[in-house]
């Protein structure tokens, strides 16, 4: 409401006065003779930058580069085809998060398959999928699991519960990936010049801050684990600029109200119980990255869709003209892709970056690109 009402833990971090003050601090710290390239690793940050119009209040020499941390975006199309091939079976209920529903497979998205009559349902957590399995003993419920470390503990706990309760008509098609190898792949990429990282907030609630230490120590890049509200992100940029000014490279935690330095040990234990690293996994745009994804351990084989069903193992190359890989790595801005805004739009996405609200292309399309054509729109007329 315009006057007075507050949403706790949200509005405090959108306080206009504090935001203006922090933006002033950024302007004071940024050396006008220098160009800063900061990568926000997480898709949630990309979304927040556009949704809150943060670019408008940052000085021009601070460039934000969108990272690979959007789990829907990095999933190769073949995995979607694999998942949907299992859903062809009329006795299977295919479940996934809302984010997955519009991601295109070779023959359409899960939502389009649903319109053609397949039993495809949106769930809000893997435990909801397990609930469906309990309620539909005559059907097999498959959960299409995606996500970084943020969502992995809930998948692990759901599998542990399925085993403990002896629910046998439930399985998980595991597409979980891990963030650290992706950051390493970006840093290894020769066309990438970055000054510092805005570290992922929700992933870090699980893994903590230690796994980033090599970025500071070996690569000499500062990294600040950040929250998702405007003030969080601006404060993280202040912390990065201070380190850069002092010539330091450390891991810092801006998101202390949520992220413990050591992570969440109970969650990590559950993950270790259920998952093991895959030797390699294909990432859209980044190619095969070794030890970058999780599979379900053999002790849980009965609940692993890949072991229960025969998966075609489809590999699909992305359309040649689409430059998702370059955008994912931060080499190109979304609007610099040849297909952006013409062939590829949120309604008719070609790459997944245009689907998820955390994908940089969709965020850019929804919140930003038409602003480039405007002049003086922000000066009030009255």
């Amino acid at each position: 409401m315009p006057q007075g009402d507050r949403v706790r833990f949200v509005d405090e971090f959108r306080e206009p006065k504090l935001i203006t003050r922090t933006a002033d601090e950024i302007r004071r710290l940024a050396d006008p003779g220098r160009h800063y390239r900061l990568m926000e690793v997480c898709g949630g940050h990309t979304h927040a930058i556009y949704r809150f119009g943060l670019k408008d209040i940052l000085p021009e020499n601070i460039e934000l580069i969108h990272g690979p941390g959007c789990p829907v975006c990095v999933l190769p199309m073949g995995r979607i085809d694999d998942g949907l091939s299992m859903a062809q079976d009329p006795d299977v209920i295919f479940t996934a998060f809302g984010d997955m529903m519009r991601v295109p497979g070779t023959h359409g998205s899960p939502l389009e398959h649903k319109a053609r009559g397949m039993d495809i349902r949106i769930v809000y957590s893997p435990s909801d999928a397990l609930k469906l399995a309990r309620a539909n003993p005559g059907k097999h419920v498959m959960f299409f699991a995606i996500g970084f470390e943020t969502t992995e503990p809930s998948t692990a706990l759901t599998l542990m519960r399925a085993r403990a309760e002896g629910i046998h008509n439930f399985s998980v098609f595991c597409n979980h990936v891990t963030i650290i190898p992706a950051i390493r792949a970006i840093l290894d990429s020769p066309d990438m010049r970055l000054d510092a990282f805005i570290g992922p907030g929700h992933v870090s609630t699980v893994i903590g801050c230690r796994p980033y230490e090599w970025i500071a120590q070996n690569e000499n890049k500062p990294i600040v684990v950040s929250g998702f509200e405007p003030l969080d992100m601006l404060q993280s940029i202040v912390m990065l600029l201070r380190q850069l000014k002092a010539g330091e490279a450390r891991v810092e935690n801006q998101y202390k109200r949520v992220v413990p330095w050591e992570g969440n040990r109970a969650a990590l234990r559950a993950m270790a119980e259920v998952f093991q690293l895959r030797p390699y996994f294909e990432w859209r745009g980044l190619g095969f990255i070794s030890q970058s994804a999780l599979r379900i351990r053999d002790t849980y084989a009965e609940w692993d869709s890949e072991q229960r069903f025969s998966i075609p193992g489809i590999r699909v190359t992305d359309p040649k003209a689409a430059q998702c890989g370059e955008v994912l790595k931060g080499v190109l801005k979304p609007h610099q892709c040849k297909l952006f805004g013409h062939e590829c739009t949120p309604e008719h996405p070609i790459g997944a970056l245009m689907v998820s609200s955390e994908g940089s292309c969709a965020a850019y399309f929804n919140y930003e690109h038409r602003k480039m054509e405007m002049v003086n729109i922000l000066s009030p007329t009255a």
Partner: protein
């Protein structure tokens, strides 16, 4: 979906999608493509007129307004309302925001075999009560029954006929830079109430979806600021963002919203934060958007706020030359973002 009929000339069908998806009914971009690409060219001929909430026709010298709407709601009843009430108020409101007072409705019930009579009776009673309250007569109806498992219990379709109000003319083309954008009250309550009432989210909130006739508010507005009213719309599916984008395209001007002036209850805002939804995309009932000339804007705000149920009305933005054909929201600390139409159904995101 209504426009003047010009049946002697037909334009080509531009809708090229192979099958109908849920998104084509969600009120956003896909719906607009279906209507403009298939229905309008085949049914309304070359009509490139903006598609309003109701058609205003002249029949033997008498001006009448007509509109129709179907109601498919799951669950059938929710805190603060039910499908029967919605079916009356939705059509009354479509007429009201087109600048007409509903006089009579006819309704069609599509019932699922196995529907408990008590449920049907409750909805028919709800319709009767809503019609009495809105001052509209129910003049006729039709009933069809479909197989068990087919119609989520019941669908209701209502068609309304009304008299144009004097002293007001709704026309997107008359909107001009400097005009003010009004909202009659907080947005998002109905969409979030129904989402939570489905019980799939394990979220609870103290929210109601108070469906109501907006005619008294529209009449108050017309009485005090009639000549200044350029446009009104009932932002149901697709939310305020979609209605304002349609207006922006129809008049070729920019709609600039001020984030801190858009009334959204904190429970709705909280739910949207949790689910990753935008309140501007959430469906509404019982609220309307209006564009009023700057000259009449004080009178309009007073009229709305003094009318019962209009206390929370707000000027949420203004019309500018730029961004032409788009909606922009300025944030309270000087940032800005483009607000697009809803794409597909609003889907909650994971993290």
């Amino acid at each position: 979906m209504t426009a003047e009929v010009a049946s002697d000339r037909f334009s080509p069908v531009r809708f090229r999608e192979a099958q109908i998806e849920m998104a084509h009914g969600a009120g956003g971009k896909a719906s607009r493509r279906l209507i403009e690409g298939l229905f309008a060219p085949l049914l309304f001929g070359t009509s490139s007129e903006p598609l309003g909430d109701a058609a205003h026709l002249e029949i033997n010298g008498a001006r009448v307004a007509i509109t129709t709407d179907s109601f498919v709601v799951k669950p059938l009843s929710f805190p603060g309302g039910s499908i029967g009430e919605l079916a009356v108020n939705g059509t009354v409101n479509d007429l009201a925001v087109s600048g007409a007072k509903a006089e009579a409705l006819v309704c069609t019930y599509v019932l699922e075999a196995g529907l408990p009579t008590a449920v049907l009776e409750a909805e028919v009673r709800a319709m009767a009560a809503a019609a009495l309250k809105a001052g509209v007569r129910i003049a006729g109806g039709d009933t069809k029954v479909v197989e068990h498992g087919k119609a989520d219990g019941m669908y209701i379709s209502t068609t309304g006929i009304g008299c144009p109000l004097r002293n007001v003319r709704i026309d997107a083309a008359s909107v001009q830079p400097g005009d003010k954008i009004f909202l009659s009250g907080p947005i998002g309550d109905p969409g979030i109430t129904i989402l939570l009432a489905r019980g799939e989210l394990d979220l609870e909130a103290d929210l109601r979806s108070d469906t109501r006739s907006v005619l008294p508010l529209v009449e108050a507005l017309v009485r005090e600021a009639g000549p200044g009213i350029r446009w009104m719309r009932d932002p149901t599916r697709g939310g305020a963002a979609t209605s304002l984008n349609e207006l922006a395209r129809d008049c070729g001007l920019g709609m600039v919203l001020f984030e801190d002036q858009v009334p959204v209850r904190d429970t709705v805002r909280g739910a949207c934060e949790l689910l990753g939804l935008d309140p501007l995309h959430i469906a509404n009932e019982g609220q309307f958007l209006a564009v009023v000339s700057a000259e009449y804007s004080d009178a309009a705000l007073n009229a709305l706020r003094l009318a019962p149920g209009g206390e929370e009305a707000q000027i949420i933005g203004e019309v500018r030359e730029q961004p032409a054909g788009a909606v922009l929201e300025t944030t309270r600390y000087g940032g800005s973002r483009i607000v697009d139409m809803l794409v597909g159904d609003p889907l909650p995101r994971i993290c």
